[in-house]
């Protein structure tokens, strides 16, 4: 295992344990940082310890003890220090620590952006500079955001714990939402693609820590199934490749199998939720041998089970159009046209595709042009330009 892998895997645990022991977020992070620095110096010389995580936690804990002794902070704190020194083995395998940290970072009293940043920093171990880069803000801004979030946790008394059972249904969606947001940040942008990997890693951890939470499994399955197609979404020259034209042999079939198996096991528990339904839709796409084999009626039915937001309604219209023909799809789109989707490029893009399938090329061209005006990425604009040329010939 490379040092980078050890770092990614153990950082969250070390920080979480140190926060539990010291109650001080800044100190916990600093001591974790120092422990990893010490490892980087000693492991190449002395060899990697048998339990790297325990070694790192012990080292970080000792730094914290040193620091607290030096500061000689009040009798109560010194007593805690003594208790910490007496612990023969650091309480390393308390799985709750990271879960607690995850729920604290994703507390609904924190702004969404703060939740995401804090999760990346404390659980995934991304540096402030890395997070700032990912969210296209100056490092100083991100640093301030993180400091403010940690201060709010301290001064507003946000508890460091997994919420009690009666609050779990209310709080778990916030954790899942943060992870999915992270994933999507990474999925829609090549530059931030490492965020998707972090989201999947954290979701795996969440599933491991909360095996009884079907929606956590649903989210992990959903992300695995989307991520399996990552490499085929753009052509070598940066043009968006839509699902029907992607090279299916290049999809990550190991990941698809894992996602499908996870989803099936989860659905079998009979507690479906939006992430499981979305994963089921992704599974329909991922397991179709060819684009023509896609089970569109099933996909349309699944979209029908989701809360009908404008974007879901649009996706459902696409699925119905694919199942029952472009003329039917087009009629459904007309009902959506004047709504809150105004200005959303996928609405005219979808209309254009249906018109193209019907052979109404000049109307399709107008819609492709409209979509291209509204498109947000260069890859999409190039794709739409290509389509526009096709129907203009």
């Amino acid at each position: 295992m490379t040092f980078e892998e050890v770092y990614r895997q153990e950082w969250g645990q070390v920080v979480a344990t140190l926060i539990r022991l010291t109650g001080d977020w800044e100190l916990a992070e600093e001591c974790a940082q120092e422990a990893f620095a010490a490892a980087l110096e000693r492991w190449p010389r002395d060899g990697v310890p048998r339990k790297p995580g325990a070694w790192l936690t012990t080292t970080a804990r000792n730094r914290a003890i040193d620091w607290l002794r030096r500061e000689a902070v009040g009798a109560a704190k010194l007593k805690e220090v003594a208790a910490m020194s007496d612990e023969p083995e650091p309480a390393y395998d308390v799985p709750d620590d990271r879960l607690r940290l995850m729920f604290t970072c994703c507390h609904p009293a924190l702004a969404m952006e703060a939740r995401v940043a804090l999760t990346l920093r404390t659980l995934a171990g991304l540096s402030t500079a890395e997070i700032a880069r990912a969210f296209l803000v100056p490092e100083a801004t991100m640093s301030k955001r993180l400091t403010r979030a940690k201060q709010k946790i301290q001064y507003a008394g946000i508890p460091y714990r997994v919420p009690p059972a009666h609050l779990l249904p209310e709080r778990t969606p916030a954790v899942l939402a943060v992870l999915y947001l992270l994933f999507n940040e990474g999925y829609s942008d090549v530059v931030r693609s490492n965020l998707s990997g972090e989201a999947i890693r954290l979701a795996r951890l969440l599933v491991q820590l909360m095996p009884d939470e079907p929606e956590a499994c649903g989210l992990l399955a959903l992300m695995l199934l989307h991520d399996a197609r990552r490499d085929t979404r753009l052509s070598a020259d940066g043009v968006l490749v839509t699902l029907d034209e992607q090279d299916r042999t290049r999809w990550d079939h190991v990941q698809i199998t894992e996602g499908v198996e996870l989803l099936e096991a989860t659905l079998a528990r009979g507690a479906p939720g939006p992430y499981q339904v979305q994963a089921a839709i992704a599974a329909c796409h991922a397991t179709a041998r060819t684009a023509a084999d896609t089970d569109w009626p099933q996909i349309a039915a699944l979209y029908g089970q989701l809360k009908q937001t404008p974007v879901i309604a649009l996706n459902r219209a696409v699925a119905i159009g694919m199942a029952d023909g472009p003329a039917v799809g087009l009629r459904l789109l007309e009902q959506l046209a004047a709504g809150p989707l105004t200005g959303y490029h996928l609405l005219p893009a979808t209309r254009a595709d249906f018109l193209r399938r019907l052979g109404r090329y000049s109307e399709a061209a107008t819609a492709y042009r409209e979509a291209r005006e509204l498109a947000s990425t260069e890859a999409e604009r190039r794709y739409l330009t290509r389509r526009l040329q096709e129907v203009s010939q």
Binding site: I158, P159, P163
Partner: protein, 110 residues
């Protein structure tokens, strides 16, 4: 920890002014989390005081021209933010107005 619950509502909330708190006060008093509080006269009877460059400026009405205004406040003393949220959510005003929870500045014991 001590928190100030600022009970806010727009003008329509005035109709609830004499409605009482539906047993909330009694429940929370018994639980021992109430450390003070009062209802307030409406914002039109407020006076705002500012001192700028040693000059006293007194203006009529509340400082902020927001739609929702503080109609009352309760000081509570409880374990953490989750408990404060739970207490605030039980207050009837949470059903028609909003309740802002602000931690009270606390100085470390010297």
């Amino acid at each position: 920890m001590k928190y100030l619950l600022m009970i806010c509502g727009d003008e329509s909330a005035e109709e609830y002014a004499d409605a009482g708190c539906g047993g909330w006060t009694e429940e929370m008093t018994e639980r021992g989390v109430i450390a003070g509080g009062a209802g307030l006269r409406p914002p039109r009877e407020a006076t705002t005081v500012r001192v700028r460059d040693e000059e006293l400026r007194i203006t009529d009405g509340p400082f902020a021209e927001t739609k929702e205004q503080i109609g009352g406040f309760v000081l509570i003393d409880c374990g953490d933010l989750d408990e404060a949220i739970e207490i605030a959510a039980k207050h009837p005003a949470a059903g028609y107005g909003t309740i802002e929870i602000r931690p009270v500045l606390e100085f470390p014991p010297t």
